[in-house]
């Protein structure tokens, strides 16, 4: 190959090369960017019934009236929705993680409280995370939880039995065709290691 024409064309050529090398590098990064993008995507489309794992703030006129019905927004027409609860853990008959009520009839726009019971059967301190999921997934954006054990990791002493409350309400603009929703919690437990031991 003649050296002269090559030298003349070198600059645009190497610029192209740099672009061609940079592009795959950017796409590699894009692969990782897909994860936050996916979360946004899930939030918009309700895929998998994923939740934002942080408490929502709503105007609680927090006078507890009854065990289940906490408060209600007046003046907006609300409708009835059946909300089911189900739970799962690694070994369900051992951990005995159960909802207090298998289903509630709730009115939209009103706040309710229910709880799940959990028993640590092992003789070690356990730490667990709860992963919530709702079906149909799109309903996730209408369920507002003000108090939930899924917001952070929980620690359970050996043999301890707890009742874990969930305070929630369904937004008033919940579409009318959602007649029945199911809220599922899956518990993943690991032996607790206090922060002092973490490297």
């Amino acid at each position: 190959m003649n050296a002269e024409p090559l030298a003349q064309r070198k600059s645009p050529e190497s610029r192209l090369l740099i672009k061609l090398v940079l592009f795959p590098c950017l796409m590699f990064g894009f692969g990782f960017l897909l994860i936050p993008l996916y979360d946004v995507f899930c939030e918009i489309t309700g895929l998998n019934g994923k939740f934002d794992l942080s408490p929502s703030i709503i105007d609680t006129q927090s006078s507890i009236q009854s065990d289940t019905l906490l408060s209600s927004q007046q003046g907006i027409i609300s409708h009835k929705v059946i909300l089911q609860f189900t739970s799962a853990s690694d070994q369900q008959d051992v951990w005995n993680f159960q909802p207090a009520a298998s289903q509630l009839e709730v009115m939209t726009g009103q706040q309710y409280k229910t709880h799940f019971t959990l028993h640590n059967p092992t003789n070690a301190v356990m730490e667990f995370t709860s992963i919530p999921s709702i079906s149909p997934g799109l309903a996730a954006e209408y369920l507002i939880k003000t108090e939930c054990f899924c917001f952070q990791k929980q620690i359970l002493q050996a043999g301890e039995k707890v009742e874990m409350p969930v305070v929630f309400q369904l937004r008033n603009d919940t579409p009318k065709d959602y007649k029945k929703l199911t809220l599922a919690y899956r518990i993943y437990a690991t032996p607790y290691r206090s922060t002092a031991h973490v490297r």
């Binding site: 189900t86 008959d93 051992v94 289903q103 028993h119 992963i131 999921s133 007649k179 029945k180 599922a184």
Partner: protein
Amino acid sequence: MESILRHLRVNGFSIRLLILMAFTSFSHAEWGLNMTESATAIGREIHGLHMTIFYICVAIAVVVFGIMLYSIIRHRKSLGAEAKPFHESTVVEIIWTTIPLLILVAMAIPATKTLVAMYDTETSDIDIKVTGYQWKWRYEYLNTDVDFFSTLTTTQDQMHGLEPKSENYLLEVDKHLIIPINKKIRFLFTAQDVIHSWWVPELAVKKDAIPGFINESWAKVEVPGIYRGQCAELCGQGHGYMPIVVEAVSEEDYQAWLITQQQAQKSANQVSKLSFDELMAQGKTSYDKNCAACHQVTGTGIPPVFPALKGSAIALGDMQKHIDIVINGKAGSAMSAFGEQLTPTELAAIITYERNAWGNDKGDSIQPAEIVSFKQAQGQ
């Protein structure tokens, strides 16, 4: 002499097998060619949609291949055909872009309608939570106590050709999923370990069961009958061995079944004392059904993934450790926790069998009652 007899018996089996094979291949008049007819309205709609699209595809193929075949036959050099070097026509290009587009719109309209109907979120009559396990299904009827596992019953001998294959080979389970007809059943899917997919063709329901998350689908079966399906997502070596059997019955039969189930559920933990021979006999049956897929009928396993039980330290060692691993499984391995999947009687039989079969000859045994107390001790 004995070996000759055994040999003859095997031969007898293989002859019967051959006859059976010949018979089945002749009697298979229905070489299933098309999508399964469905027992639900949605399923029939899907079937109709499938047929419509199929006919459209056939029509397209006939036109395209017809023209092609015509020019292959007529425009060949050996017949003296002269090439007409036309190579562009904007009008033609526009026509054959527009027509497919219109056909696609015509396809999309019924498809959208069916899809919207499938996503109906109206309330349901019965809700069943379906959990995929490696490699079995668990069914929980929400708002009742009914909760059971459904496991393949086809024997290892059938799979390995040592006995003739039953009619519903690989599509038979110990406990059917019983549902009433003409009721809207809402299925909630999740999985314990890896992704599974619950599929019954006649119900036109296929949904992935994803660990940690929940999915839903529904069916309203109109015709009573037994409908069989399989796991549709690769979930490990037992993927082909976790069938689904749905039995649609009348409302009265369903209610009666529900009551007997609830009673059975209560009495499941009531146990009686069994002799060593009874334990071994039941142990073999339960072991072959629940354990042999990995640890093998001969107890030799498939090391290193599935360890041998024959001569293993656990089967020949401390009884409590043995009970513990069977009931609680081994974290991070394929060994699942059988404590919730099997009854105390089955667990005791399996453990006794593992300690005494294949020349393990440990000589000890365990009673179902001890399993119950082990679980109670664990639970407190």
